[in-house]
Symmetry: D2
Subunit: 373 residues, 4 copies
C-alpha cells in the first residue's frame, strides 16, 4: 500500500527559494484519521527516524488492513530543522521574534465565549452529531485565519506556518507529535485529562498529565477545545468523552536518534495503531512491555536552574529516583577576584525522578541544569 505523497510550499525565502512540507497519506477504510508529525523543534530529530521505520512497516500492508487514514509529516518545520549556530541545531525559537515554535498554535477555546450555550443546545444529541457540529464551528473560525494571511498587512511567519500545519490535522481523531528534549532525556509522553488508558498503549515508562498549560502548544491547541466542551457537558450533568486524543512523545536526547528511543517510539506507535484497530491483521514485532507506567503531572515537574554562574558536576544520572535533600549537582564557581574557585552543592527540593539533564555543563546564573518529575 503506497502512500499518497504531496508537497506543500509553506514559506518563501528572501532568496526566492521555497521551504515545503511533505505529507504521506495512507488511506484505508472509513475509520478514524491519525495525524503524526516530527521535528517541530529543530534539534528534536528523533521522530524522523521513527517515521522512517513506520513508513517501512505501513507500506507492505494491504488496503483492507488499514481502517481509516494516517497522515504523516516528517521534518515538519524546515526553518527550524536547518537552523544552525556552529554545529548546534538551535531551532527552538523563531529567529525573527524569539517565540518557541511550539507555543504559537491557534486554540479555538480562546476565541469562543458561548461554549456553555453550545453544550446546552446539544445536550441531548448523540456524540457523533455533537462532534460533527462542533468540528464545523472550529473549522469556520479557523478559515478566517486565511483571510488575515491574505490581507495586505498579512501576518507574522508563525501565523503562516501554523495555518499550514493545523490545516492538515484539524479534522484528525488522534494527533501525535514526536519530540525529544534539546538535552539528555528519558522516553516519556505528555497526555491529557481522561486519556490515561490510551496513554499506556505506547508502552513508555512514564507519562506527564498536562494539568497546567504553557499555552498554545500543538497538542494543546488540538485537544483543549474538546476538553473544554467535555467540561461544559459535565457541568450540565452529562458525562461525555470524545474519541479524540492528542499526544506528545518525548524520545531521548536532542540532535540524536538514539536507537533505543527510536525502537520504543516505533513499537509504541505500532501498538497504538493496532489497539485502536486502525491497523489490522498485524502482529506486533515484539510484545510491548506491560510494566507499570509511572504517571505524574506537569504541576509535579521541578526544574532546577543554577543559582550562580559556574561549571556543573551532576551527581545523579538520568532516571535516578531522588529524595528531598539529596545532592543533585555540584557547582564549581570561578571568580575574577583574588580567591580560589569555590564549590557548592545543590539538593533536591522534593522527591522525584530525574528525567532531563542539560547537555551543557557550563551555566550562567539562572541557566537550566536538570528537571525531576
Amino acid at each position: 500500500m503506497q502512500p499518497n505523497i504531496t508537497s506543500i510550499p509553506i514559506l518563501q525565502l528572501a532568496s526566492g527559494d521555497v521551504l515545503s512540507l511533505q505529507v504521506y497519506r495512507f488511506q484505508g477504510g472509513t475509520g478514524p484519521k491519525v495525524y503524526l508529525q516530527a521535528n517541530l523543534h529543530g534539534a528534536e530529530i528523533v521522530g524522523n527516524a521513527v517515521i522512517h521505520q513506520l513508513l517501512k512497516w505501513l507500506t507492505p500492508l494491504e488496503p483492507h488492513q488499514l481502517n481509516g487514514e494516517i497522515w504523516i509529516v516528517p521534518a515538519c518545520n524546515p526553518l527550524a530543522t536547518n537552523q544552525r549556530s556552529h554545529y548546534f541545531s538551535t531551532g527552538r525559537f523563531n529567529p525573527y521574534d524569539g517565540k518557541d515554535w511550539n507555543r504559537i498554535f491557534w486554540d479555538y477555546e480562546k476565541e469562543t465565549e458561548d461554549l456553555l450555550d453550545f453544550a446546552r443546545s446539544h445536550l441531548h444529541l448523540d456524540a457523533e452529531t455533537v462532534q460533527r457540529h462542533y468540528r464545523a464551528r472550529i473549522q469556520t473560525q479557523f478559515d478566517r485565519l486565511r483571510d488575515k494571511l491574505r490581507s495586505p498587512a498579512s501576518a507574522p511567519l508563525s501565523e503562516h506556518y501554523r495555518f499550514h500545519l493545523q490545516s492538515l490535522c484539524l479534522d484528525a481523531n488522534y494527533l501525535i507529535d514526536l519530540h525529544s528534549t534539546s538535552n539528555q532525556g528519558l522516553d516519556y509522553l505528555y497526555y491529557f485529562s481522561g486519556r490515561e488508558d490510551s496513554a499506556k498503549l505506547f508502552g513508555l515508562d512514564s507519562g506527564i498529565l498536562l494539568d497546567r498549560y504553557d499555552g498554545d502548544a500543538f497538542d494543546e491547541a488540538f485537544i483543549k477545545p474538546w476538553l473544554a466542551l467535555e467540561r461544559c457537558f459535565a457541568q450540565l450533568g452529562r458525562e461525555f468523552r470524545f474519541d479524540l486524543e492528542a499526544w506528545t512523545l518525548e524520545l531521548g536526547a536532542g540532535m540524536q536518534m538514539n536507537p533505543i528511543s527510536v525502537h520504543r517510539g516505533v513499537l509504541g506507535l505500532q501498538n497504538y495503531l493496532i489497539q485502536k484497530k486502525i491497523v489490522q491483521g498485524v502482529v506486533l514485532p515484539q510484545p510491548i512491555s506491560k510494566q507499570q507506567m509511572y504517571l505524574t503531572r506537569t504541576s509535579q515537574v521541578k526544574k532546577y536552574y543554577s543559582p550562580y554562574g559556574g561549571m556543573v558536576y551532576p551527581k545523579v544520572a538520568l532516571g535516578t529516583s531522588v529524595q528531598q535533600g539529596q545532592v543533585l549537582y555540584q557547582l564549581l564557581i570561578f571568580n575574577k577576584q583574588s580567591y580560589c574557585p569555590t564549590q557548592i552543592e545543590v539538593v533536591a527540593e522534593r522527591d522525584g525522578i530525574v528525567y532531563d539533564l542539560a547537555s551543557n555543563q557550563a551555566v550562567n546564573t539562572g541557566e537550566y541544569v536538570l528537571a525531576t518529575f
Copy 2:
C-alpha cells in the same frame, strides 16, 4: 550635587565574570521618586546618550533645587547590550529561552484576587493612606520572589534579572523607560489610561495609549496594579487617580543615538521634571514645542508583514500620512524556477502615519516590513 553611585552585581557568568547595574541617585527634598532607565533591549542605546546629557544637567544643581529623588540606570541590561551577531546588536530576546527582555516583568495584578475587597475596605480612607497600604501589599508579595531565587531550584535568568530591576523602582512615583525601535522609527511615547495630560509634558509629536497589552512589559508591570485599583474604586463609585505614572519613550532608530532624537528626549525629560516640580529654579534651555500631540492607541497600530519572500522597495517615508489603499511598498520576488522575477504592490489597509520601518529590506514570508498608527 553629586549623585550617589553604586553598582549592583546581577548576573554571574559561567566564566566567573560578573555583570552589574550601575545606579545614580540624586537625593533632594521629600518629594516624589523618579526612576529612569535605558537600554533594556540591546539595540536600543539612544537612552544612554539621553541619560549622559541629563547627568550633566543635574550635577550642577544645588540640593535645594531637587524636591525628591531621581534614580538613573543607564545600560540597564548588560547581557542584552553586549549581545552580538556579526556587527548587529541582537539583544531583544534572552538567548536561553527566546523571551523578549521587555515581556518578563512581575505584575502584581496577576497575582491578586481580592482587589475589590481591598478597595471596599479602603473606600473612605484618604489617597495617601490607600497608596501606602497598597504599596505595602505589593512589596510583601514581591519579597516572596526572593525566596524562590534563593531556593535550591532557583529560577531562570529572567526572574533573577527582573527582581534586581524591579527592586529599584517598586516604590517610585514616576517611572520612565527609554527605548527605541530596533529599526527606523519616529520619536513618540507610550502612555496609560488617565495620563494624557502628563504625556504632553514630554513634547513629543505622538503618543500611543496602551489600550491593549502585550503583557509583562516594564511600564505595564509597574502601573497596571494601580490602574486596576483605580478601576475597582470607580466601580465602587469613587473617582480616584493615584499620582503614579509610567512611560516608555521611543527615540528613533536602533543601534543609533540620533542627535535629534537625543535632544528631544533630553528636553522632554527636563520639562517633565520641571513641570512635576521635582527640579526647581531652572529654566528649560529652550522652550518645548507646544504643537498639538497626535494621540493614538495600541489597538490602532497596524503592522505589515511580507506576504511572500523578497526584496522590499518602500514607497513611503517615516512620518508619512497614508490613506487606505495607498501603496506602501513594492516587493521584488525572485524564484528558483524558470521565470523572471515578479513585483507586487502592497497597500495600506487603513489610514495612519508610518511610524516604524524595517532596517532590513530582505524579507522572508511573514517578516516585518513597517507599521502605521
Copy 3:
C-alpha cells in the same frame, strides 16, 4: 531577447528542502562572456535591485545588439541571504565554520608551481593561444575538485558552494560581483593591477586597487592566476595584458537597496557593457559622470576599532575628507564602579576619506567603528 533561465540545486538541507541558484543567460554574438552576481554576503542585497533593473534593460534588446553572452545570478548565496538573527541579516559568515563567504574561493595560482615554465614555453605564442591553453589548465585542475565532492568523505559546505559558483564563471572574460558594506558606506569599487582605465567606465567616485589581498575572495580567485601569468611574462620581457577583468562594486548600505546606489550601479554596468561593445546600438539613459575618479589602494585603507567599550558619537559623516589629528568620534564610556561616565575623543591617524561607518554605535573593546581610504 528573453534570457534562458535555469535553476541549479546547490545545497540540500537536513529537512529535505533544496536551495538553488537561478541563472539568467542572455546569448548574443561570439563576443566575450560577462558574469554578474549579487548578494554573496547575506546583508548585501542592493545588487539584486541592480540586477532587476538590468534585466529590464536587456530584455527588450534585439539579438544582434548583444555581442557575447551575459550570465546573471541574483541572490547567489541563498543560505546567507536567508540567515537571520532577530531582524538582522547576519549572513556574512558560514554558520558551520565561521568562514567569511567571500574568503572561500578556489585560487588556481595557489596550486600551480610551474607558472614560469608555462610562460617560457608560451613566450612566443599569440595572446589568444596563450589564453586558451592557460584556461584549459585551470579548467583541468578545477575539475578535480568535483572528485573530492563526490568521494565518500565529500567536503565542507563551502567547497560544495564555491564549486557551483565558480563553475558558472571560470570561462568568463569580465566578472562583476555586486556587494555593499554591512554598515553605512559610499559607492565605490575594487579593481586590480593594470585595469585602471576600465575601472573608470563604471562612473563611481572612488576605486580601491587591491595591492594587498585578504585571500580567496571571489574576484581575486578569478583574476589572480592571470595576473600571475602576466607577471611571469613581464619577468621574461614580454609585456602582456589579458582581456580579463574582475570587479567588486560596493553600493551603499547593508540590508538596504538605496535608490541612488542602485541607480549608480545600473548606469555603471550599462556603460561598461556598452563601452566594452557587448551591448550595441543603445544609448545610455543618461550620460555617466565624467568627473575625476578618486583612486586609492587597500594598503591605504585605515580601519578604526574602539579602544574601549562604550557608545560612539561619530563626528564625521560618510564622505568627509579628514586630516590627521582630526576628531573622528567621541566614545562615551560607562563603568560599573562608582564614578561618572567618561568621554574620550579618537582622532584620525592619517588623512583620508571616510568611506564606511558602523551601523551599530554600541561597541565593545576592539569593535569596528569606521574606515578611511
Copy 4:
C-alpha cells in the same frame, strides 16, 4: 603553598562591564615555567575541571617541592565561554568577525626574515645563550603589538585578546592548552616535531603530530618560531633541541566535563610535572598506564562531511578501528517531492580510528559527520 592570584581586565563591554582573566601563579625554585590554560573555545569546558583538581593537588605542596613556576588560567576566554544560542555554548568563533578563537595568535616566525642569519651568528654559542637572545628578539617584536593597540585606530578584539594571553606565556618553557572537541571525542593530544618522548608522559592513548598547520593556533604560535630556528641550525649542521614544548590536550566531549576524561587529564599533567622534575617529592596517586601510545599525524586525519542533507545513523562508535570500504554511517534523506525517503551508506576512504563524532545527527550538505586518524 598558596598560589598568587591576580585578575587582568581584558575586555570592556559596551555596557561598561569588564571581562577578566584570573591567573594562579605557583612560584617555587628557579626551574622552568609551565603555562596552563583551559576553555579557549567556549564549549570546551573540561579543562576547567582538570585545573580545579590540579589546584587542589598543588596547594598542599611545600615551596621546596616546586622547582620552577606554574601559571594557570582557567576559563581563559570569557567572551567565548559565556556565548549561548539556546542552551548551546557556541563560542568557537568570534561573533564580530567569525574567526576561530584558536586561529588568531601572533606567530613570530611569520614576521622574521633573517632567521638563518641569526642562526649563523649564534652557531657556536651555547644553547642557553641562544635561547636567551632569541627570546629577547621575540619579546621586542611582540612589544610592538602594544603600540598598535594603543594607537587611535587600535585593533580588532582578537588582537587585544591575544596580546593579553600571549603576554602571560611568551617566556614559558612548557605550554599546555586544554581543549576538547565540540562534539563527542576521544582523549588525545597534539604534539610537535621532536617531542614524541615527552608526549608519552601524559599517558593518553593517542597523539597527533602537527605535520600540517592550520595556522595561528595557540600552541603553534608559541612553538613554531623555535622549531624554525632548530631547522636553521640543522641546515647549518648543528643538531639542536630547545627545551621548549607546546601541547594541546583534547579531553572528551564538548559542553561536558566527563569524569574519565578529567581524571586522565589530571593524571597526565601530574605525571608530566613530576617527570619534568618541576614538582618533586610527590608520588602519582596511581601509576600512569604504560601502554603503547598510538601516534599519528594531522596529514593522516580524514574528516567526513555529508554529501547530502539528511539524518545520520552512525554505524561505528568512538574508538572503532575502521578499514577502507567499511560502512561509517547511513544517511536518511528526505525530499520535498513525491517520493519516499531514501537511504545511502557512506564508507571509509582509508583505514583509521574514529576519534570524533558529531553531536548533531541532522546534517545539511557539507556538514561535518565524523573523523578518523
